[in-house]
């Protein structure tokens, strides 16, 4: 049994915020951020729903091990199911609306319905996070339009920053509030764009600096996989993602002390378990 202790010096009351996680460039970590920040918020006691709004290239369900969901956002946007039919329980109390993996259904889906679908559940949650596709095509526009706020994600290199700028412009055209930008996969190497320069270039606050962390890569591994926030909550990237979550909430600190999950103790437990007598199979 893992005991968790959260120290939150301030908790504000919110009325259902719908935030989309968008970038421009693919592969910068939107899905990882949406999934793990959502879990972090849920661990802090907020009711959270994460919607995989990437209708064409759904990945959130893969990150969370929910690829076999019978009813997905595709069915909802086709008018064949209600959104409540497509809400599933995810890790640590978070709710998930997965997108379908079927290419056939993708062709039939009307992404413009997303806004009314999200509106119908906005009052049920403190936070709805939309994992938005890469690029600035129609499905991205529909997802941004379905949100109230936009959180941008980029890696600290010029192509990613240039692409996220385009997403920022698109969000501005749609009159959506851009709350900030998260810099992901930061290695601290020479040549990376610093957070100060990103703030100056994009005129946006930096909502998080997530270090490059090999633990993130293990998310999709079969046996050791699972979201970072559940599997390795003390990993550097996990701690940084929690800070991003706390910045979104407006709480000053979000610290997790997980008793019973000491990595050193865990090692000795696994070592000594080799010598423990295993029960005979029935």
């Amino acid at each position: 049994m893992i005991n968790q202790e959260f120290i939150v010096s301030k908790k504000l009351v919110f009325m259902g915020r719908v935030i989309c996680i968008a970038s421009g460039k693919g592969g910068v970590g939107k899905t990882t951020l949406a999934g793990n920040v959502g879990i972090a918020l849920a661990q802090n006691g907020y009711s959270v729903c994460i919607v995989d709004a990437d209708i064409a290239m759904a990945n959130l369900s893969l990150l969370l091990g929910m690829q076999s969901s019978p009813i997905t956002l595709h069915d909802v946007l086709l008018g064949e199911a209600t959104i409540n039919d497509a809400i599933y329980d995810g890790p640590k109390g978070v709710k998930i609306v997965p997108s379908g993996l079927s290419l056939e259904n993708y062709r039939r889906v009307d992404s413009e319905r997303l806004e009314s679908v999200i509106d119908s559940i906005a009052g049920q949650f403190d936070f709805i996070l939309l994992d938005v596709p890469a690029g600035i095509e129609k499905n991205v526009l529909a997802a941004i339009s379905a949100s109230d706020e936009v959180l941008l994600v980029a890696t600290p290199d010029p192509p990613s920053i240039a692409d996220v700028l385009k997403t920022k412009i698109v969000a501005q055209r749609l009159n959506r509030k851009i709350i900030g930008i998260v810099l992901n996969m930061v290695r601290g190497e020479k040549g990376e764009i610093s957070d100060t320069d990103v703030m100056k270039m994009l005129e946006l606050p930096v909502y998080g600096i997530i270090p490059y962390d090999p633990e993130v890569w293990k998310t999709f591994l079969h046996e050791k996989g699972g979201p970072l926030m559940v599997r390795s909550p003390n990993a550097p990237a996990a701690l940084a993602l929690r800070k991003t979550a706390s910045k979104i909430v407006g709480a000053e600190i979000a610290i997790v002390h997980e008793r019973g999950k000491n990595p050193i103790a865990g090692f000795f437990n696994r070592l000594f378990s080799i010598f423990k007598k295993k029960p005979k199979a029935a």
């Binding site: 501005q172 020479k190 100056k200």
Partner: protein, 153 residues
């Protein structure tokens, strides 16, 4: 002058030897910063004619004509476009008579797109090089309707 030259040389050698990072924005950064600055549009204007021109730039379209459902012109980014207003509303009216649930009309021309978007008892007639999504047309309409509401109160 000699001292400043010496100081420049020493600084260059030091940055090479110590592998100091170059500070300050280089050309790429300046370009991104400028593009970010140029994307901001201040829509708090007094005149509708000013607003429509800003909306054309903000949404990167060739022209915006707004007409009432009866064909009368409200405003155009091209100055005066009575013919455009009448043609657009008539076309939309015909299409709706044949396809009653039409929400918007997109026509591909040899160069660019012609789009009709009905909203709030008006028709938004937009020309652009590439087709807009319905949410983008709605954003144009929202911007203009906000202005009209504010100035009618």
């Amino acid at each position: 002058m000699v001292l400043s030259k010496v100081s420049t040389v020493v600084r260059k050698v030091a940055s090479k030897v110590l592998d100091l990072e170059q500070t300050g924005l280089n050309e790429q950064y300046k370009m991104i910063k400028e593009a970010s600055r140029n994307s901001k549009f201040e829509l708090e204007v007094e005149e509708l004619s000013q607003l429509i021109k800003l909306l054309r730039e903000k949404h990167a379209v060739d022209s915006i004509v707004v007409a009432y459902n009866n064909g009368s012109l409200l405003i155009s980014s091209n100055g005066s476009d009575l013919k455009e207003a009448i043609t657009g509303t008539a076309m939309l009216s015909y299409i709706r008579s044949e396809i009653p649930k039409s929400e918007s009309v997109f026509i591909k021309k040899s160069k660019g797109w012609y789009m009709l978007y009905p909203f709030s008892k008006k028709v938004y007639i937009v020309h652009a090089a590439s087709n807009l999504h319905n949410v983008e047309l709605k954003a144009i309409a929202d911007d203009l309707e906000s202005f009209l509401k504010k100035h009618s109160d």
